[in-house]
Symmetry: C2
Amino acid sequence: MVVDQVPRDFTDEEIDRIFGALADTTRRDILRQSLLGEQSVSGLARNYAMSFAAVQKHVAVLERALLVTKERRGREQIVHSNPAVIRRAARLLDAYEDLWRDRIARIGDILSGPPPQENSRKDVAP
Amino acid sequence: MVVDQVPRDFTDEEIDRIFGALADTTRRDILRQSLLGEQSVSGLARNYAMSFAAVQKHVAVLERALLVTKERRGREQIVHSNPAVIRRAARLLDAYEDLWRDRIARIGDILSGPPPQENSRKDVAP
DNA sequence: CTGATCTACAACCATTTGGTTGTATGTTAG
DNA sequence: CTAACATACAACCAAATGGTTGTAGATCAG
């Protein structure tokens, strides 16, 4: 059962953890693997030239960032991706880009002169 | 003049640096500030409860991640944002999400039975 | 039951990170 | 010219990161 997939807005600390988790090539690859299909931690670990414990730690970082969840199945721990969080991170970056776009649009307005439909004079007779 | 805005594909190290730079609340705010309007490093620094040198370091991290550039103007160093890199990071996350979407679409295909237009038998007479 | 497998976690280590202070250098204002 | 300002950079420190090995507990196969 999937609970709490995209609940509230992220806190600054959560965004820190999300981008921090994405700032490592191995972790991005683990995320990619888990998006392509659920796998056990040991199954994932076999793909990388590092110890099982190291991969385990990387999965834990992704988990604290809410990018993946783990579900125990017998003696294995299955890693599920959480694409909703990835999507929200992408939208967050879009929002940053929009800030810039809006600024450029405003500059464009200034350069092309005040639009005639706007009346900002204070001394207009009623 | 703006050069090399969105040249080649990013290397893994560059993507590490981009997400790493975004993984800090102060740096995201500096980025936001510079998207809203160019500012000097010292102008930016006045917004934060830390030393000028600390802010200088944060700007340097954003710069190594290609998210901002600096341009010297007199005795000041003006920080320009590079929205193209932000945009490419967002598209990168979209691509991860697409991996998942494609997988889900394939699972849907399996559940609804093989589509009749696909012929995968090996023993078809010519 | 026994042995192999999967996971968890602790302890340790080297490097990086995020902050500080201090010093030096260039630039502008007056 | 001189003083104030903006920057650069080095040295230092504590904490986090990314890796290792080792130990121990569950669970499954035979």
